[in-house]
């Protein structure tokens, strides 16, 4: 797949990563990065998996795409951060949930609705608690840097 790597700081960071030659994770990272440089205007803009997928070549497998999204959230990459939202009845909308609470439930395998406390099965939990991604402050500070 032909892709011309641009001259930005973040393109260089991704280029320096060692990806398997048999996967498209690196290419997927570049495509997501290109989209974020335009669409990731501030930390309030969020992206679902589906929205990010729309900007990635459909020949790239779902597995490589998902790996690339999480790759961009890594501590040493710092382009994306993951958050979670759940339905809050009193507000009649999805509201961001504290990430530590969600991670604690995932780690303990004891799932419940973040706002109501209703006990949920693992499947129900992943239907009720919706992941999203937003760009980091570090990304905003450096997205226009060139090397």
């Amino acid at each position: 797949m032909n892709y011309e790597i641009k001259n930005s700081y973040f393109h260089k960071i991704i280029k320096a990563q060692k990806f398997s030659e048999f996967s498209d994770v690196g290419y997927s990272c570049f495509l997501i990065l290109d989209h974020l440089i335009v669409a990731g205007r501030d930390r309030e803009v969020s992206f679902s998996f589906d929205e990010l997928r729309e900007n990635v070549d459909e020949r790239i497998s779902d597995e490589d795409f998902i790996t690339s999204v999480f790759y961009l959230t890594r501590e040493d990459i710092k382009i994306l951060e993951q958050g979670f939202s759940a339905w809050k009845t009193v507000e009649d909308r999805y509201v961001e949930v504290k990430k530590e609470k969600v991670l604690r439930m995932i780690n303990s395998k004891q799932f419940s609705h973040p706002y109501t406390g209703e006990e949920l099965t693992e499947d129900q939990f992943y239907e009720e608690v919706i992941p999203f991604f937003a760009v980091t402050k570090f990304f905003l500070d450096h997205k226009n840097d060139t090397i």
Partner: protein, 361 residues
């Protein structure tokens, strides 16, 4: 008193306060208070809990006395503020004459002193509070039945569990009784009377009028029974018309709009905040749509809107005001007498929010 007796009494007091704490946690759950808020109270006392109501009641029963006392105090405060101020549907009688607001205050004191005042009603005169600065709150308890939605699991379905082979999700609705504290707040300094329905988020839109009417007629009957002749609560048309606040909440820059349904020259739209966004009016797609509408000579005309205002750092009480689209599109004068206020954590939040609503009417 012997030492042994003193110890027993202490233990009894401790058991009693723990029982009150556990009961209060159950009331928090019944009132749909955000579990995270109650959970944070435990965690600030160094008590780790699993994110479930049952885990909180278990921890309340087993934690140390000092932690239990501190938690009980905070849960009690949270619950009291929720009962008095949060998640309310409100109607406001404003700009009363000074003697009128005093007469209302005397009249409510009177019906609290007459046992039979509510004997013919589903309401009970439950409690009254003097919150200072000439403000009194009169709470009227009523049990309401609401319909609660639940996704049914295998164990809920029992012998019928095989339906889950055919359907991904099976949803059930069950009637649940909830104790509500409707109230009247009389402010003799600002010459205002506010009527409020408790737990506004669970009151169905088509029941709001009926519930307010019932509150008004029950109180007026109680005035009659108590021999109060100089006071009557008027029908809703006498309350403040908040209809214009819907547009003003959108137009006035202060605060943040968290959701809105609005009409443009071409379409209807519903926009709601996503994830970390703060104000739908500042989202790029909204600004683009607004600019396009204004280029056509039109404007954004909201008919439902939720807005929050920052009272102090990280304190954002919210208000919702809205009408049905069909009503919005009818010709002629419009009215809206109630608003829903929520994320109200104190009396300061409450008065701040009421003042914001009135400033935008």
């Amino acid at each position: 008193m012997s030492d042994q007796t003193a110890l027993n009494i202490e233990q009894n007091d401790s058991n009693h306060s723990r029982k009150t704490l556990i009961d209060n946690i159950k009331i928090c759950e019944e009132r749909r208070i955000d579990l995270s808020i109650v959970e944070d109270i435990f965690e600030r006392e160094g008590i780790e809990v699993i994110h479930r109501w049952s885990s909180l009641t278990a921890a309340a029963a087993s934690c140390g006395d000092e932690a239990a006392t501190n938690i009980a105090e905070k849960v009690d405060k949270l619950l009291t503020n929720h009962i008095l101020y949060d998640d309310k549907l409100i109607m406001i009688l404003d700009r009363l004459f000074e003697d009128e607001s005093h007469e209302f205050n005397d009249a409510f004191s009177e019906i609290y002193s007459v046992d039979e005042a509510f004997s013919d009603s589903d309401y009970i005169a439950d409690s009254s509070y003097d919150v200072g600065n000439g403000v009194s709150i009169y709470c009227f308890k009523i049990v309401r039945e609401i319909s609660e939605r639940k996704e049914l699991t295998e164990s809920d379905l029992g012998e019928l569990a095989s339906v889950l082979d055919k359907y991904n999700r099976v949803i059930g609705y069950r009637p649940v009784k909830v104790t509500c504290y409707d109230a009247v707040i009389v402010d003799t300094t600002k010459n205002r009377v506010i009527l409020q329905l408790d737990l506004g988020s669970i009151v169905l839109a088509n029941a709001v009028d009926k519930f307010f009417h019932k509150l008004i007629t029950s109180i007026n009957k109680a005035f009659d029974v108590a021999g109060v002749t100089n006071c009557r609560l008027l029908e809703k048309i006498q309350f403040e018309n908040l209809y214009t606040a819907i547009q003003k909440f959108y137009d006035n820059e202060e605060g943040e709009v968290t959701s809105a349904s609005f009409s443009t020259s071409k379409n209807n739209h519903h926009e709601t905040l996503r994830d970390r966004a703060r104000d739908i009016r500042k989202a790029e797609y909204h600004l683009r749509g607004k600019a396009a509408e204004e280029a056509l000579g039109g404007k954004i005309r909201p008919y439902r809107i939720s807005k929050r205002f920052e009272r102090a750092t990280n304190k954002w009480p919210q208000v919702y005001a809205g009408v049905h689209y069909r009503y919005f599109n009818k010709p002629g004068g419009k009215s809206l007498y109630e608003a829903h206020i929520f994320d109200i954590n104190s009396y300061k939040d409450y008065t701040f929010m009421i003042d914001k609503i009135l400033a935008n009417r």
